[in-house]
Symmetry: C2
Subunit: 110 residues, 2 copies
């Protein structure tokens, strides 16, 4: 028996969680929302809507358009998006550890 | 901004969580799976399948058939089911508190 959990930020609806965090991290690497969405088996339009919904609920911009350059432009993470990814990952590590410890305390003998 | 979470026990698939806990508590009060399911807007057959799946994954019986009596029989919780409901509720209270504290620590300034 194991414990599993999903944890998300909520502001009148899901504002940020594991899926969005993964998507942003992939955009940060590939500088392409199209590629990041594809890697996660998500359509570009779904990924785009997800980003817009999060931006609205979080009240910050997450993606900045990079125009031109060698790669012909693309998307990059705003400072706020990078900060959010870092915080969420630290928060998740701590929360997963706390939940696991409490699971052992309450169900360890099962 | 708030934090929200779902926490469940897993044994090669969801074995117990918030919905099942609610269902069992309602069966414990009404002694009727039919009524408990209805109160949660769930079909009887879906509730029955959910109970059977949990019993398989948990490896314990959750409902005992009460035959006859004034009420004409019905379902009651096994000792294992009552123990599980109690543990899960205590676990959830502790886990929700821990997650909330960590959320404040990591996102309190947002």
């Amino acid at each position: 028996m194991k414990v599993a959990c999903k944890i998300w930020l909520d502001n009148k609806g899901k504002a940020f969680g594991e899926g969005p965090c993964e998507l942003l991290k992939r955009v940060g690497k590939s500088h392409s929302l199209h590629q990041a969405a594809g890697e996660m088996g998500m359509s570009y339009s779904k990924a785009w809507k997800l980003i817009r919904t999060m931006e609205k609920r979080l009240g910050v911009s997450l993606l900045a358009r990079k125009i031109g350059g060698n790669s012909g432009g693309g998307s990059q993470l705003t400072a706020e998006a990078k900060d959010l990814v870092d915080r969420y990952e630290r928060f998740r590590r701590d929360a997963d550890r706390a939940v696991e410890e409490l699971f052992q305390r309450h169900f360890g003998d099962l």
